[in-house]
């Protein structure tokens, strides 16, 4: 499993790296000393606080000094009986899968479109990436405004005679989760696009040209030549998207607060509420640990799968 991680990110494509895998530096070639500054900083502000914070998962800590007791695995047991937590777990998984899949496809489509000689491509590249520059709270407010029942989106839809499509986007509990997912994709598709644009730059144009000479259509060339060569870019894009969507907090918290009801509750949102609304830091920490393990497992599976895909090709 560990080797999957380390090599999945390394491009195993056709690139001419003659000494890439064979050339082994003599022992001590790259001293571990170069690793030291990063490791010290990382240990100080991430590892140590995380490990000492993780201990609270086994306590009933309320965030104040007095009367903290060890409660064993009780907090973890509660997660699976807690209605809000179960709903959050389900939603987080739905968000992660759908955001990762759709955002990758949208980002790829935008990149393919902008990799051509469109006159507007420089402006569009900036425009599509621009939402990623804005803080999520601002994004959330903008979309709350646009999606309000009598708001701009529904007005446009009704104007086009599409009354049936005009919905209570954030207020309908069967729709709200999908609306949130849409907004998240809107905000981060540009990031995926940029990663794919980068990948596209590395594909030799001769490959596509010779395929075109052989009579392959645009779609065939894209599917059989371009997309397979984008596997490394896909790995980077999908890993980052998967991790951030599993941890999704800001957009949900600012747009729906987890509602209507519990329809858009995510693990990060209930983690926050348990700690800072209910004062149950211990339970909140247990949720955080479970979330970490879920993210870890999903990332490993994904990296492994993409790697196999890459090798099989």
């Amino acid at each position: 499993m560990t080797s999957a991680v380390t090599t999945a990110t390394s491009p195993r494509t056709t690139g001419p790296t003659p000494s890439g895998r064979s050339g082994r530096l003599t022992p001590g070639g790259v001293p571990y000393a170069l690793l030291l500054p990063a490791f010290v900083l990382y240990a100080m502000v991430v590892l140590y606080p995380t490990l000492s914070g993780a201990v609270y998962a086994f306590t009933d800590w309320t965030g104040r000094a007095d009367g903290t007791n060890f409660v064993g695995w009780a907090n973890f047991g509660e997660i699976f009986s807690d209605v809000a937590a179960r709903s959050a777990l389900r939603n987080s998984l739905i968000i992660a899968v759908s955001v990762t899949v759709v955002q990758t496809l949208v980002g790829l489509a935008l990149a393919l479109a902008l990799h051509t000689s469109l006159v507007t491509r420089n402006v569009l590249r900036t425009l599509f990436f621009a939402p990623a520059l804005l803080p999520p709270v601002i994004i959330a407010f903008l979309w709350t405004f646009i999606l309000t029942p009598q708001g701009p989106l529904n007005t446009v839809l009704r104007g086009l005679g599409l009354d049936l499509l005009a919905q209570n986007w954030l207020g309908d509990s069967s729709l709200a989760l999908w609306t949130v997912i849409g907004v998240v994709i809107w905000q981060s598709a540009g990031l995926t696009m940029v990663i794919y644009l980068a990948g596209l730059q590395g594909i030799p144009t001769e490959l596509n040209e010779s395929a075109a000479l052989d009579g392959a259509s645009w779609w065939q060339r894209t599917r059989l030549v371009t997309v397979p060569l984008l596997i490394p870019a896909t790995t980077v894009a999908m890993s980052l998207t998967l991790i951030s969507s599993l941890k999704l907090f800001d957009q949900v918290f600012a747009m729906t607060g987890g509602g209507p009801g519990y329809a858009t509750e995510t693990l990060s949102v209930i983690m926050y509420k348990e700690a800072f609304v209910s004062g149950r830091f211990g339970y909140s920490t247990a949720i955080a640990l479970v979330l970490t393990m879920i993210v870890f497992a999903f990332t490993m599976v994904q990296l492994g799968a993409l790697r196999r895909f890459d090798v099989d090709r």
Binding site: G63, N168, T256, G259, Y272, A275, G279
Partner: protein, 445 residues
């Protein structure tokens, strides 16, 4: 396409890098004070001087409290020799910050707490946990009215100082009422009639926005419960605490939610309220698309901003819940400050509260925010906006927000979240009350 060839085409100009580096270096030198913690740096409580004369009092306030206290800062320092170091934060972020600060011993000398047991950092929760200084012996403690005292005291000890009181009011659009010839309703039946008239005119009767956490749902519950439940039975909280009754067993609670849903069922609330933001609801009232809305009076200034004519465009009333106009009570809530039990400068903090308790200063604070005075010290507040409801305040016809004496913040949280499901008809009133009872039974953390 090796990286070598691609990067060499786009090597950034070395000059640009150098320029950037130089500019940055200059900047760093110019402002190197920010890297280390000198005494006028951060807002943590353990570094302020104390003892010798005045020193500094660190204060951690809500944005609103900061506005109210602003005109009093200089007079206080002139009067006492104590400097004030104020940090102000929006309420949504406060509870998190304060919780972390209290757990780490970095909380300010004086900070905002929620009333009763309504959050993790409420007066009752922190007071019983030993985090707050006992202020019972302060002179102003005698001027706290009984309703407020229930929220500031634990076991006969006063832990919080009411800087002001807010109330839940119904604001209405004067132009719309004039146009339709409507009078402010004083009973539930009149309210329904006014709503019907507004609806018939093609408007939303009561603009209602529940998206983003449904904080406005609770206001209707507190208004209806105040008049229908706590008016006839002031001992309800004690009875619920003692387990003699509950949300489910007390028929008044069912009546409260039934009446709330009646407004929805008759089409008086904004269409699709669950997807409407509170801001949108206020704007609808300002533009006349809606006739009325319920809000805290601390939200009135924001409402006025939405209208070209400002405060002139609106008036307020106490929302009726029953058919005896004289039985209508208006929910009011104290806005509290409390002193850290581990304050670096407890004497300075006490001095600040004594200063804020002086009638003239109570008046200044309340006028700056257009709110009700927190202490009963005979302060005359000139506040035309609140005039329509002042008779109720003077007659003592006020009641606490119902949630303040619920034993933990989760009862309210459940009401807000499951309440959205109730609004969407996904659960019944009985379901909701059962859930609230379950959270209630968990007691104070």
């Amino acid at each position: 396409m090796s990286p070598i060839t691609s990067q060499s085409r786009f090597t950034p100009s070395r000059r640009a890098l150098l320029l950037g580096g130089a500019g940055f270096g200059a900047l760093t030198l110019a402002a190197c004070g920010g890297f280390v913690n000198d005494d006028d740096g951060g807002g943590s409580g353990d570094e302020s001087g104390s003892g010798d004369g005045g020193g500094t009092v660190t204060a951690y306030l809500s944005t609103e409290q900061n506005t109210g206290i602003e005109p009093l800062v200089e007079p206080f320092t002139a009067d006492s020799g104590v400097e004030l170091d104020i940090t102000s934060v929006a309420v949504p972020d406060m509870n998190q910050q304060l919780a972390v600060q209290l757990s780490s011993g970095t909380a300010a000398d004086i900070f905002r707490v929620s009333p009763g047991y309504s959050s993790n950092v409420a007066a009752g929760v922190l007071g019983s946990g030993g985090d707050l200084l006992d202020l019972s012996d302060a002179a102003w403690a005698a001027s706290i009215d009984d309703g407020t005292r229930a929220l500031s005291d634990v076991d006969g000890k006063t832990f919080a100082f009411p800087v002001a009181r807010n109330s839940l009011v119904m604001a209405y659009n004067l132009a719309v009422f004039d146009e339709l010839g409507l009078e402010p309703p004083t009973t539930w039946t009149e309210l329904l009639e006014v709503c019907q008239a507004l609806t018939d005119s093609g408007r939303t009767a009561i603009s209602h926005g529940l998206s983003g956490g449904a904080i406005y749902l609770q206001f209707y519950v507190y208004i209806l419960a105040g008049t229908l439940l706590y008016g006839p039975n002031p001992d309800l909280d004690a009875q619920m605490r003692a387990g003699e009754t509950s949300f489910t067993d007390e028929p008044g609670w069912t009546e409260v939610f039934t009446k709330y849903l009646e407004l929805r069922d008759k089409g008086y609330f904004t269409d699709g309220a669950l997807g409407v933001s509170p801001d949108q609801a206020m704007q609808d009232l300002a533009t006349g698309a809606a006739g009325m809305t319920v809000l805290s009076n601390s939200g009135l200034p924001a409402l006025y901003e939405y209208s070209e004519t400002g405060a002139e465009a609106f008036s307020i009333l106490a929302m009726p819940a029953g058919d005896d106009a004289d039985a209508t009570l208006m929910p009011t809530a104290p806005d509290f400050l409390a002193v850290n039990a581990a304050a670096a400068n407890p004497d300075g903090a006490r001095a600040l509260l004594e200063f804020l308790a002086e009638p003239a200063n109570v008046e200044t604070y309340a006028s700056a925010l257009a709110v009700l005075p927190g202490l009963d010290v005979g302060a005359q507040v000139d506040n035309p906006a609140l005039e329509p409801v002042l008779p109720l305040v003077d007659a003592g016809r006020t009641v606490s927000y119902a949630n303040y004496l619920w034993p933990n913040g989760d009862v309210q949280q459940t009401m807000l979240q499951s309440g959205q499901q109730l609004y969407a008809d996904e659960i019944t009133i009985a379901d909701l009350l059962t859930q609230m009872d379950a959270e209630y039974a968990k007691g104070t953390p």
